[in-house]
Symmetry: C2
C-alpha cells in the first residue's frame, strides 16, 4: 500500500520532469513539496526500495514505469474531480484545486472509471489541462502561448500556464476564460505588452506576464 505522502512525492517528480525522463535533483523536489532536503532524501530511499523511482546518490531521481503509472493516475483523478466540481457542483475554476488535491487520493479504480463515464469522458479539465486516459496517455493539442502570436493573428484560449487564484480571477474579469477568442491588434516592444480584441468586442491591453501564461489554439 502506498501512502498519500508517497503519492505526493511521485506527483511532484512527474510534475518536474513532465513527459521526459530527466533526473530531478533533491533540491528541486524539496522546493516543489515545500519540505527540507533531508526529508526528501529519506523519502527517496523509501520510494527507491519500493521500486517506484530510480535513484543514485548525488545524481538525481527519475520515475520507474510503475512510479510513472501511479503519478499519471493521480493526475487523471485530480483533473476528473476538477471537472466534476466545476461541471456538476458549480464551483469556479479558481476554487477547485485544494479540494481535488484531497480527492485525488481516494483509492478505487472502479470509482474513477465510473466518474469518468458520468462526466462524459472529458479530455481536458477546467483549466484546459489534458486528462490522461487509463493508460496514462495525454491528449495532444496544437497550442502556443498568446505571446507567440503576431499582429493580425488570432486564437482561442484553451489553457493557462499558471493556476493561481489571483491569475484565474483576473482572467475572468477580462472575459479571458477558456473559449475566449483573442485577436492581436498591436504589440509594444517596450514592455512586450500587447493590445488585443477579446471576443470581437472589447479591446484590452495585456502585460507580457499574462500573454505568456495564456495558451491559445491559433486560428486564421
Amino acid at each position: 500500500m502506498i501512502s498519500q505522502t508517497e503519492e505526493n512525492y511521485l506527483k511532484a517528480i512527474f510534475k518536474l520532469t513532465g513527459e521526459s525522463d530527466d533526473a530531478v535533483s533533491t533540491n528541486q523536489i524539496s522546493a516543489e513539496i515545500l519540505t527540507s532536503a533531508a526529508s526528501v532524501t529519506d523519502m527517496i530511499k523509501r520510494l527507491s526500495k519500493k521500486g517506484l523511482i530510480k535513484y543514485e546518490r548525488y545524481k538525481g531521481t527519475r520515475l520507474s514505469d510503475e512510479g510513472r503509472k501511479i503519478a499519471t493516475s493521480l493526475i487523471r483523478k485530480h483533473r476528473l474531480w476538477e471537472v466534476f466540481l466545476v461541471e456538476k457542483l458549480e464551483f469556479t475554476w479558481d476554487e477547485v484545486h485544494d479540494i481535488a488535491e484531497q480527492l485525488e487520493h481516494i483509492k478505487s479504480e472502479f470509482l474513477i472509471e465510473r466518474l469518468d463515464r458520468f462526466l462524459g469522458f472529458p479530455k481536458f479539465d477546467p483549466h484546459g489541462d489534458p486528462i490522461p486516459d487509463k493508460d496514462g496517455n495525454f491528449a495532444y493539442r496544437k497550442q502556443v502561448s498568446l505571446a507567440q502570436l503576431d499582429v493580425g493573428e488570432s486564437g482561442v484560449v484553451v489553457g493557462v500556464n499558471e493556476h493561481s487564484t489571483a491569475f484565474l480571477r483576473f482572467l475572468d474579469s477580462l472575459a479571458l476564460g477558456l473559449g475566449a477568442e483573442v485577436r492581436i491588434l498591436e504589440t509594444f516592444e517596450y514592455d512586450m505588452s500587447m493590445k488585443v480584441l477579446v471576443n470581437q468586442s472589447k479591446e484590452q491591453v495585456l502585460s507580457s506576464k499574462i500573454s505568456q501564461n495564456l495558451f491559445v489554439m491559433p486560428g486564421e
Copy 2:
C-alpha cells in the same frame, strides 16, 4: 486541525452511544475500531486534551458538544457521498461503504453543501439511514423491525440494521430492497421465521435474523 484517525475515533464513540449521552468503555471502542485497548487509552487522552470528549480514568468516555458536532458531520458526509455513488455513479448499495469511508474525510464545508444541493437535499441514504442536516439533526421516521409485525399486517421496507455486503445482496435476491412491500402471511413459533408476501406477488419464508434486521414502515 483534526486528523483522520481522530475523526474515526469520534465516529466510533458516536456510533456506540447513538443519540444518548452514555459513557463508552475503552474496550468497546477498541472492539469497534479494531485496535488495542492501549492505543485507545492514548487516543482518548489526546481527544480529551483537545476538548472533543469528556473522560475519566476507568469511568469511560462521552463526546463533548464539539466532538458530537464533528461526529455527526462525518456521518452526514458519509451518507451524502453514498447517495452520490448510488444515484449518480450507479453503484449498488452493497458497494459504497468503503469508498464513502474515505470520502467522508475530505475537508470542505462548501463542498458538502454543494453536494447536498446537487443531490436534491436527500434525507436518507441508500440503506435508509437518515442524513443529519447541517446542525446535526436526524430526520425521524416511524419504523419497526419486520419481526415486530403480526400476521395480516404489512409494511414498506425503509432500512436495514445490518450493512454487510452479504446481507444486502441477499435482500436484493429476495427483491427486498428499499420500497418493497411486505405482508405477513404466517409466523412459525418454532424458529421465529415468517412467511411473507413480497410486492403482492411472491411468497417467501424469512428467518428471524432477516426479519430482525429489516426495518419497515407499518402500513394498514
